[in-house]
């Protein structure tokens, strides 16, 4: 698998992991139904230890545990995986199914245009709005510097 493909897959997996199950299902409803799939690992919820590192040369430490739901499905020859934060099993199932379908050239363009791109746009807009709200409260410490 080449780097460009890995990057693309990383992108759609990230978008699907940030979208809610309802949003994904809503987008999928506008498209023709996907072919039947085999569940390889039914959606299951568990904890993963998130590790951190202070600075570039600090020792790794355990930051805390995080709830994660994972799922894997097979669609024909392709295997789709999903690891999503939280306990939304529907989201994990749909994200895994879409990951498998997106690897199929026959489905890729329709799903990218119909699901991933609109979801990514919505997420970017929300992030942007959040950044604007935060930027409006920014304090300039210039005055303090000049009076010192």
């Amino acid at each position: 698998m080449d780097t460009a493909h890995t990057e693309q897959r990383r992108h759609w997996m990230a978008v699907l992991a940030r979208a809610s199950g309802e949003d994904i299902a809503g987008r999928l409803a506008t498209l023709p139904p996907l072919p039947p799939h085999t569940p390889l690992r039914p959606a299951e919820t568990g904890l993963v230890m998130v590790r951190g590192r202070a600075g570039g040369d600090g020792a790794a430490f355990n930051l805390g545990e995080m709830t994660v739901t994972r799922c894997a499905v097979r669609l024909g020859e392709r295997v789709g995986h999903a690891y999503v934060a939280g306990r939304d099993k529907r989201q994990a199932e749909l994200a895994a199914l879409l990951d498998a379908a997106l690897q199929d050239p026959a489905w890729h363009d329709a799903l990218m245009g119909g699901v991933v791109v609109p979801l990514a746009a919505g997420q970017a807009a929300r992030r942007d709005a959040e950044a604007r709200r935060a930027a409006a409260t920014k304090v300039e410490f210039l005055a303090m510097q000049t009076t010192r």
């Binding site: 085999t38 569940p39 390889l40 690992r41 039914p42 299951e44 894997a72 097979r74 020859e77 295997v79």
Partner: protein, 189 residues
């Protein structure tokens, strides 16, 4: 190509664990394990069910079952694959198994670290064949094993002499399994 593991990971793993527990506490009694499981060839249902139930990230597995089985075990059990039989906590032999002496027999302080060897055989049947005696058997239990490697009974005697160290064996034939814990004595019928 990956195939599914246990349809219900919790209940089916518990059922397989129970089968191994019963098999270990009553050596030579045949138990059923892994109904409905579809592991890749050459894995058998019973051996696949045992590994799915017992193997995890802390137990290296060594096997001779090929790439499909390797991918399947890594994905469903999450177990690391050992490079040599001696490094493995579970050893699965679909062909000629490594000799018992080549496996980790644990230490005097920690005999529970001894490896478990799963041997896939053609058939196991109670009533005739090998004579088993020892803890868990009131007088004598007889077990017929088709496809047992040559020299197994002699190697077993050497393994039993190491007690409390030693290797435990689980014989698997399709969806049937029988255990030979390190305490059992085997004599040829």
């Amino acid at each position: 190509m990956l195939t599914p593991g246990f349809a219900d990971p919790v209940l089916h793993a518990q059922a397989a664990f129970r089968a191994v527990l019963d098999a270990m506490s009553r050596p030579g009694r045949v138990q059923l394990a892994g109904p409905g499981l579809a592991p890749p060839a050459p894995l058998m249902r019973a051996s696949a069910a045992v590994l799915l139930s017992l193997a995890d990230a802390a137990t290296p597995v060594w096997h001779d079952a090929g790439a499909d089985a390797d991918a399947w075990l890594r994905f469903h059990a999450g177990a690391p694959v050992a490079t040599t039989p001696r490094d493995a906590a579970f050893v699965l032999a679909t062909g000629a198994p490594p000799t018992l002496a080549a496996l980790d027999a644990g230490t005097e302080e920690e005999p529970e670290r001894g490896a478990t060897l799963l041997i896939q055989v053609e058939a196991i049947e109670e009533g005739t064949g090998l004579r088993l005696t020892g803890p868990g058997i009131e007088h004598e239990h007889r077990l017929l094993v088709r496809g047992l490697p040559d020299g197994f009974v002699a190697a077993w005697a050497a393994n039993r002499a190491l007690f409390p160290r030693g290797v435990d064996v689980i014989l698997c034939a399709w969806d049937r399994l029988a255990a030979l814990p390190r305490t059992v004595a085997i004599a040829e019928g």
